[in-house]
């Protein structure tokens, strides 16, 4: 409507039209440009206040978090952190070795089966050999007895304790959580787990930690029931990588990220293809839009009053 009025009022169209009077067109008071000045001012003030208030609330919310009595983990430069970066599979493989030799003494990973490792960190033959090392209770057989057999690809990872109660008793009453989805289950994900594993230290002066608990600034409450699980040379890597504490923590975190998100690489691969597809489609659609609208954008509508 406003556009129409502009066209009608501008000089060239008036000479075209030969109309003596300007033409009043009825306008519905809907568009911004047809609003009165005061309404515009009121509306923009309202908008600024709303956006500013929301921003302020967000900032305050953040700073309230920062005053908590807990240390937030820094952002580590994971090699899989980029939007299109895959996991480092050599690191997953080492991380599995760490889990198997260290963490699995206390932590279960009940949602992972041996077959999940095939084509991710190990070959099928290797995984079969790994699985055969564990004894799995199966059955009942024809006589109703349970029996043990060597593990198969389809078996799930063995659990260190038969039930949570047994796990608590063995760990001073603290339950070692299942690690299958741990990096998704904690704020900070692998940054948190890395910081937790490497963050053990002496409690500051004046802080006493109960018998059987350990001081860790990253753990909510600072006193954790897990003894420091890793240190330099806690194990020897099969691929010869020096097993420093941070290397071990990094590898096990990469492994835990994969465990919690096995679709990680596929997701990023699809994301890349989506971007490639959009790079073709978006310009095409933009061109099409301009093309279709060119008629509407360049037309002039004139009202010629009957003589």
């Amino acid at each position: 409507m406003a556009a129409l009025r502009v066209v009608v009022l501008s000089g060239s169209s008036r000479t075209f039209l030969n109309a003596p009077k300007t033409i009043r067109t009825p306008t519905a008071n809907m568009s911004i440009s047809s609003m009165s000045r005061s309404r515009k001012v009121a509306l923009s003030t309202f908008g600024v206040i709303t956006a500013g208030g929301a921003g302020l609330a967000l900032m305050l919310h953040q700073s309230v978090k920062a005053s908590d009595l807990e240390l937030h983990p820094p952002n580590y430069p994971w090699s899989h952190a980029g939007p299109l970066s895959s996991l480092d599979h050599a690191s997953i493989r080492r991380g599995y070795q760490v889990y198997k030799q260290v963490c699995s003494a206390c932590h279960s990973m009940e949602y992972l089966a041996f077959r999940n490792l095939v084509g991710v960190s190990h070959t099928e033959a290797e995984v079969k050999a790994i699985a055969e090392e564990v004894e799995v209770v199966d059955g009942p057989d024809e006589s109703g007895e349970m029996f043990t057999r060597p593990g198969k690809l389809s078996d799930y990872f063995p659990k260190p304790y038969p039930n949570p109660e047994a796990a608590r008793v063995a760990n001073n009453g603290a339950l070692p959580p299942d690690l299958s989805y741990i990096v998704n289950a904690r704020h900070g994900g692998e940054d948190y787990v890395f910081s937790l594993l490497t963050g053990y230290c002496e409690p500051p002066a004046g802080v006493t930690v109960r018998e059987g608990l350990y001081y860790n600034p990253y753990f909510p409450g600072q006193a954790i029931g897990m003894a420091p699980p890793i240190y330099n040379e806690v194990l020897e890597y099969d691929d010869g990588t020096p097993a420093t504490m941070s290397q071990v923590a990094k590898d096990v975190c990469t492994f835990l990220r994969w465990a919690a998100e096995p679709e990680h690489d596929q997701r990023k691969r699809m994301g890349l293809k989506l971007l490639m597809g959009s790079a073709i489609l978006v310009p095409l659609i933009y061109y099409m839009k301009r093309h279709r609208w060119s008629v509407l954008k360049s037309r002039k509508i004139a009202y010629k009053p009957p003589k």
Binding site: S86, T123, R269
Partner: protein, 63 residues
């Protein structure tokens, strides 16, 4: 222009050839696009994927 015109006359003018062109074109486009995407992803993540480290572990069982 001459090319566009002959493509039009040859393929897009008749509905039957048009439909066949689109379908065959889709198959080839899909294949090329998919392989290009995979190649790019593997190039960007060179050395990190299982595909790139697999040979280290397979040679062992052949010996």
């Amino acid at each position: 222009m001459a090319l566009a015109k002959s493509v039009y006359n040859l393929l897009f003018r008749r509905t039957s050839t048009f439909a066949v062109t689109i379908m065959v074109g889709a198959i080839f486009f899909e294949r090329v696009f998919d392989q290009a995407g995979d190649a790019l992803f593997e190039q960007m993540n060179r050395g990190k994927l299982w595909k790139h480290i697999q040979h280290n572990y397979e040679e062992k069982d052949e010996e």
